[in-house]
Each structure stands twice: as C-alpha cells, then as structure tokens.
Amino acid sequence: MEFSRRETIALGLGAAALTFMPFRVEAAAEEVISAFTGGADVGEGGVTITAPEIAENGNTVPIGVAAPGAAAILIIATGNPVPNVATFNFGELAGAQSASTRIRLAGTQDIVAVAKMADGSFVRTSAAVKVTIGGCGG
C-alpha cells in the first residue's frame, strides 16, 4: 500500500515525540504546576489517575482522576505542546471529587494530576501512557 504522506508524517511525528521521552515532566509542565500550587510543597498519595497503559487512539485517550476531599484537580499532559489539559473545581455540595474526560496526546508521556485539598495542601500523582504505531500482536 502507499502510506499517504499525511499518514506517514502523522506516524513520524507521534513516534518522534517518543524519542524525547527521557525528559519526563518538562519545564512547561512544571510551570503550570507551580502556577496552580503557588509554589507550595506537593505531597504524594490521595489522588489517583485512571488511564490506559497503552492508548488505543492517541487522539482521544480516556482518563479519570479522583481525590476524595479535594477542592480542585489539575490535569497536565507533560509531553503535549500545551501541557495544561483541565482544572476541575469541586464545590462543597459535590457528591464525589472525581472527573473523567478524553484528551489528545502527542506521544508517549506522563500524565500528572495535582489535587488541591480542602485544607489548602497539595498532592500529586502521575501515570505513563504509551502512544505506539502498533501492529505485530502475537
């Protein structure tokens, strides 16, 4: 078959982004996190991400975040050109502090969630999502 130029480029870009992986959380993402936390210390635990280990379609990856007792949760796609994905704010009447959405990923990267808890403290977690060309399943 003829890969169209567009498909090939799309594959090439996705894969090229993969090769920049070792940077993990990049500078732009750290800036977004600092803006959200105001530079406060960020702990671990108390917030969870539900995401596929390998994306079925990098253009629409279902992810969920949950942090019981949170006032807000920030989601960052660390490897995207614009890492800021969303901030979910939870009012006092919210039944559960969880949300799910679909995001586009430029390539394999870490997704980071930072939760602002009711007492003003911050916690974070991350999940690696792989975006692959695919094929060759045994």
């Binding site: 078959m1 003829e2 890969f3 498909e7 090939t8 594959l11 090439g12 894969a15 090229a16 993969l18 090769t19 992986m21 070792p22 539900t50 596929p52 280990e53 390998i54 994306a55 079925e56 379609n57 279902p62 799910s100 394999t108 690696a128 792989k130 692959t132 060309i133 695919g134 094929g135 060759c136 399943g137 045994g138």
Partner: protein, 565 residues
Amino acid sequence: MISRRDFLQVSMATSALVGASGFGNWARLAAQQALTQDQLLDFDTFGNVSLIHITDIHAQLKPIYFREPSINLGIGDAKGQVPHVTGADFRRLYGIEDGSPSAYALTYSDFTSLAQTYGRVGGLDRVSTVINSIRADRPDALLLDGGDTWHGSYTCLKTAGQDMVNVMNGLKPDAMTFHWEFTLGSDRVAEIVEGLPFAALGQNIFDAEWDEPTELFKPYKFFERGGVKVAVIGQAFPYMPIANPGWMFPEYSFGIRDQNMQKMVDEVRGMGAELVVCLSHNGFDVDKKMAGRVSGIDVILAGHTHDALPEPVLVGTTHIIASGSNGKFVSRIDLDVRDGRMMGIKHKLIPVFSDVIAPDPVITKLIDDQRAPYKTELSEVIGQTDTLLYRRGNFNGTWDDLICDALISEREADIALSPGVRWGPSILPGQDITREDIFNVTSMTYGKAYRTEMTGEFIKIILEDVGDNLLNPDPYYQQGGDMVRTGGLGYRIDVSKPQGERITDLTLLKTGEKLDPAKTYMVAGWASVNEDTEGPQIWDVVEDHIRKQGTVTVAPNNSVEVIGT
C-alpha cells in the same frame, strides 16, 4: 483472606501427599521410551474441582509440528524467569532428559530428528480424547478456552471462523475469552457470540463510545462444581485495537483494567465464590504483574504468549498456568476447595502426541466435514523444503525469512517487514509445502502485502516502536508479540537500552551499506493495521515465490545481532 504463608504450607502438605504437578512422573516414564496414551493421561484425581485449559489453538484442527523458541528474552524482573528460559536451560530447570519426549515437546533442540521420532502434535480429535478422559474421572470438569481459536488456517479464513466454532462446540467448552476472533470484524463476532452455547467472557471488553461494559460479553460466570461455587472471570487481550486493526471492531475498547478486575473479584467473592479463576489472554508477564496487583484470584489460566510450562508459577497466592498453543498441550488442574477457600492444587501439562493419543472418531468426522469442501485447495503441493521452517522466537524464524524473501523478490523491494506473530506450525526438511501450510503461517483478514517508500529514519522508528512492545521492562507496556521480522535489513539491538536507543547499525544487506536516515528505501510488508491497505494477499505472494523455487532452502540468518542480554 488466607496469608501467603498459610497457603504455602497447605500447598506443600498437598504436594508431599500427591506430588505437585505429576510432571516429574511423566518425564521419567517418557524417558524410558515407553510412551503410551495411558501414561500421558495418567492422573490421580484430586480434590473436588477440575479445570481443563486449552488456549491459542489458532484454528489447527489437524496434528502439526510446532517448534518451541530458541530465544525468548525476559526483560527487567522477568530476566531468567520462566517462561523466558529455553533449550538446555529449560530442560535443566525441570529435570528433563535430552532427547526425551518432553524435551521434544517443550524445547527446540534437535527438533528435526526428535520430530521424526515422536511425530506430530495436536489435532482437536486427540484433544477431545484427553478431555473425555478427564471427564471420565470428573464428569463436571470445566473446559475453558483462552481464545485465539477462530483464527489461523485456510478453512477458518474461508468460513469466517465457522469451522472452529463447529468443532469447538463438539468439545463442549464452558467459557471462552478472545483476541484474534475480533479480526473477523465486530458484526461477525457478534453473530457467532450470540449463538454460542457457552459463556463469552471479558471483564475488560468495554463499549468504546461510553467506556462501560458491553451487553454481549459478560465479565464473569458462576458455576457450581463438586459443591463449590466457582467464578470464572474473563480477560480478553488488552491491546486489540493497537496490535490488530481497530477499524475492524471500532465499537470496542479493551485495556488491562486491573482496577475493574479487582472490582469483579471482590464482587464474585461477595456473591459467595469459593474459587476464583481468571481465564486470561493477557500474556504471561502481564498475568504475573496483574496477579501481584489484584488480590483474590486463585488460578490464572494464561494465554497469548504461547508459553508451555510443566508447573504452575506462584505469585502471592495466585497460581498461573501456561498451556502452550496450536493444540499441542492441554492442562488439567485439579483443585481442593474446602471451607470457602482453595486448599491445594494438582496440575499436569498434557502434551498431545498425536501418534500416541487415539483420535476421538466423532470429532475426527466433524473436522473432516469442515475440511471436505476445501480438500483440493488445501492439499495442493506448492513446493518442498530443504530447511526446517518454523516461526517462534523473539527474532527471525525460517518461515519469516522465507516470507521476507518472497516479499523482496515478488514485490521488488529493498527491505521486507513481516509481523512478529507467535502462531504458525513448523515444516520439517524434506516435507512438501502445501497451500494449507502457507495459510497456517499467513492467514488473516488483513493480509494484503503493501509496497511503499520509507526513509531510513522512519524504518528505525518502526523498529524502535515494535522493539519497545517486546522489550519494555514493564510488562503492562508490552503487547505480547515478538520483534518485527526483517528481510534485506540487518541491525544490532541492545535489549538493555530504552526506546530510541536500542537499534543501531541498520544495514542494507544487498549493498552492505549503513541505512541513510534521509534516503528512501522501497519496503514491502504485510499485516498493516491501517485501513485501505493495498496489494496482493501475502499467501499468494509466498505461493508464487515457493512455486518458482521448487525446493526452498533458507540460509542461516545472522543479520540481527542481539546484545545487552
């Protein structure tokens, strides 16, 4: 929940009483060259529940040869652990004598000569005899099919899986999970599943649009066996839309979803399950990791990666059973379940030596009926081989080399790419190659052989990408296939490096020059997951090539250098 220590003590007491797996006995008897059906099937019935596991049949209705891999690398924590042990190391690990039937069944060494001594393996009529014998001991034994059943042969392709459905229905399974079945397309899968007289399971088969469980595939099914409430939870292949063409089944989403697996285990335990069995198509290393993250599964029946292990692997309190592929093995697992928990296990990996185990005539007739309309096409001799043709292994097998040769010469390409699938029986030197044999290693619903230009840089990206699906140290990021096979192209791979740094020294073999990242090369390949792939079917390309050769000889392939092991 019983502690790991309690459990091990219980298991060990059981072992001392009845022998852990029965495998040691079988190996000894086999070494005496006195292999009989009675010995292969010999098993002192144990406990109160029996499971029969068969998986990854890949539509092999008739006996075949199947050579196990010579290279099966374990990465990270899996290094040196089963199933990543092959050949002499494998024999030493399990106390198997060189040249014995078990050496032939489980390792690759001296394959050609041992195959001539011990003959073909598998055949679903022989499998039926094994199942009948277990059912004679324990009539309510559960027969569980791990999937990759409705794919892999000429008749299966031509009947869109119907031949396998008909024959498997004759064996009367109790439940099944899935992988390649979905490449029949979602309409056909739905049509078959709606009529199945047994459970179609997959806790990780979700509706793609709403990301919620489907109506068609249930997460689990309860059975009452020997007074025990048994829950069987299905786990389909997690990476279906990535490893296979997602456009053929756009309605479905998969993934490992181990949090949902835990939820299902808790749910069935809450409903009174005394024994929880996971019928899985995760692949062995993914199952091992899942067993460490999900608590409460007693037995995982593993599939996908085609490993055959003579003893269960214990992770915490979960026993993982690997039952091989292509109808070559059937596992029998007897369990003692008392006071609401599993107290002991006895297991035997039964090799289906087709010259030793008598065929069940009812199933033989059923198989012959499926094949009858295609008899002429199936049996046509296309050529002969001087070389043992096999596929299994992390890098090129001789079947793949032959397919790549066909792509390069028939499609006038510089470089050929062939998928690293793990199915496909072997052909011995001196044997005829029939059309059926070619379909056994190529048949699929997306088999068109493409021809396209790729830059040196893009070829490296493909190799790095596929390499990471095999060699990522975290099993959850592996897809369970082997490395893409290359023709006309040599390279060095450092398996200890991360993605992007594993592949070096890409060499165009016909000139001996290093691949230029900026230059374009003509590449022929097959099994693209992209829709609208164009080209002739791969089996026609291979048939034309073999016909021209008459007798094929595949030269030893040293074009891939593996380092960092």
